[in-house]
């Protein structure tokens, strides 16, 4: 496994021995409001975020378990180095992003699960809001494949995680203008991909 710690988070606190990772500290520096964050806290509080982010960044379903485990192995190893200068979520996304890229490099650019595998779900009449959400999520994953990785990450954080531009800039270690630029482009390309998909579906 490669070292997938995100940029912009230099080591500060000494990590403790495995298997128990160090607790990291998060909170407002300078205000004396620090809160210890344990590995359990990160796992329990952010597992869902990690899981869906991996999926949205193009990790095939069949490799999702391994990728999620890789993310938390990195968290376990690096949590003691987390300075709390950013939120746990943005720190974590940096790890997720690198793990996802690694998986995709190995698996190839295209998803291993074409949309058609799941398309029949559209014909289901029963129960349903959850099914609709799952179907919509699969379509979104499929459309996200049209975006370059950098734009995709910005788009996922902005449109699906609904993070602010400064948060995204922090998570991706890029400047604000880059975030805006990538988001504009990603939105345009996502909308175009959706139009093409709809056009094909109508034929």
């Amino acid at each position: 496994m490669t070292d997938s710690a995100p940029r912009g988070h230099s080591p500060k606190m000494a990590s403790t021995a495995v298997p128990r990772p160090a607790a990291a500290w998060t909170g407002a520096h300078g205000a004396g409001e620090f809160t210890a964050v344990s590995f359990d806290d990160v796992y329990d509080g952010y597992f869902d975020f990690v899981w869906r982010s991996l999926r949205r960044l193009g990790v095939p379903f069949s490799q999702l378990d391994d990728a999620a485990q890789d993310v938390f192995l990195v968290v376990h190893r690096r949590l003691g180095e987390f300075e709390g200068r950013s939120s746990v979520k943005t720190w974590l996304f940096g790890i997720v992003l690198r793990v996802a890229r690694g998986v995709r490099r190995t698996a190839g650019r295209r998803p291993t699960e074409p949309l058609s595998e799941h398309a029949t779900i559209a014909g289901i009449e029963t129960p349903v809001e959850a099914t609709e959400r799952a179907e919509a999520a699969r379509l979104v994953h499929y459309l996200l494949e049209n975006l370059e990785d950098d734009k995709r990450a910005v788009f996922v954080l902005a449109e699906l995680e609904q993070m602010t531009a400064p948060e995204i800039a922090d998570a991706l270690a890029v400047n604000l203008n880059t975030v805006y630029s990538r988001l504009r482009s990603a939105r345009r390309e996502f909308a175009s991909a959706l139009e093409r998909h709809r056009a094909r579906s109508r034929k």
């Binding site: 069949s62 999620a68 485990q69 192995l73 014909g123 919509a136």
Partner: protein
């Protein structure tokens, strides 16, 4: 800034909550991490994991379950059939099965690294036993609400359920079965059996029991446990004799058509 059109926006609004993890996902990865990092990696044990251990200790029960969302089940069944079809295609019927070996994963111990646990042959004996997977075929405890061997009249008892509950649990069930299928497709039957085990623990009377039994039978065949596979296939045939999964299991395992 360029904004999305209303259709794209609507799609994203719906999709936003559509790909979260389930408790099963969370617990499966937790077990894998604990196995990799050591038990001390987690300070606490999740309630769901503890509950599962209880279920495991009591012994899981397989039963048949009808389900109100027949189309959904049909979709899953199609998916499973497709998956098994792929497995059947890659599984050479002429290929002699490996030497008999214990196959399955003990419930509480063997959920080792998620999909990194060594397959049969490389796996230490302690990682495999006939205890867990055999649960679908084993005699349930006397206190079990539904006995495996009970007649199919039990089906009607579970036919009507709350739809909202069905929706979420079915999606979670589907996830587990998909995991099992994916593992089979990757040529990792032991991993498939772990997902099967997860499903059995969480949904002993779930809507996808036939799918679970089918995946289990094929996985056991691939691991060389033909007796275990036969038990699973027999149970599948008992609870769902008309299942489209059945021919696939027969083909994958090269079972006689008269089986069971």
């Amino acid at each position: 800034m360029t904004d999305l059109n209303s259709e794209a926006r609507a799609l994203l609004d719906i999709a936003r909550d559509g790909d979260g993890a389930t408790d099963a996902d969370r617990d499966r990865i937790r077990r894998g991490l604990a196995a990799t990092l050591g038990a001390g990696a987690f300070a606490t044990t999740s309630a769901t994991a503890a509950a599962k251990a209880g279920v495991s200790a009591a012994g899981a029960v397989a039963t048949t379950t009808a389900f109100t969302g027949a189309k959904f089940v049909a979709w899953v069944a199609v998916g499973v059939v497709a998956g098994l079809g792929g497995v059947a295609a890659i599984s050479s019927l002429a290929e002699p099965p490996p030497a008999r070996a214990p196959v399955i994963v003990p419930t509480a111990v063997a959920h080792v690294p998620v999909s990194r646990a060594p397959e049969q042959g490389a796996a230490p004996a302690s990682n495999v036993s006939t205890a867990a997977v055999g649960n679908d075929n084993a005699n349930p405890p006397a206190t079990s609400p539904v006995e495996v061997g009970q007649p199919r009249a039990q089906e009607g008892r579970t036919a009507r359920r709350d739809e909202g509950q069905d929706t979420s649990s079915l999606l979670a069930e589907t996830r587990l079965i998909e995991h099992a299928q994916a593992a089979l497709a990757r040529g990792k039957p032991a991993d498939a059996l772990r997902a099967v085990d997860d499903h059995r623990q969480q949904y002993p009377n779930g809507a996808l029991v036939p799918e679970r039994l089918a995946v289990q039978a094929v996985a056991l065949c691939k691991l060389g446990d033909r007796d275990g596979a036969r038990r699973s296939a027999t149970e599948l045939n008992r609870i769902a004799p008309a299942s489209p999964l059945w021919p696939r299991v027969q083909q994958a395992c090269d079972f006689d058509r008269t089986l069971p």
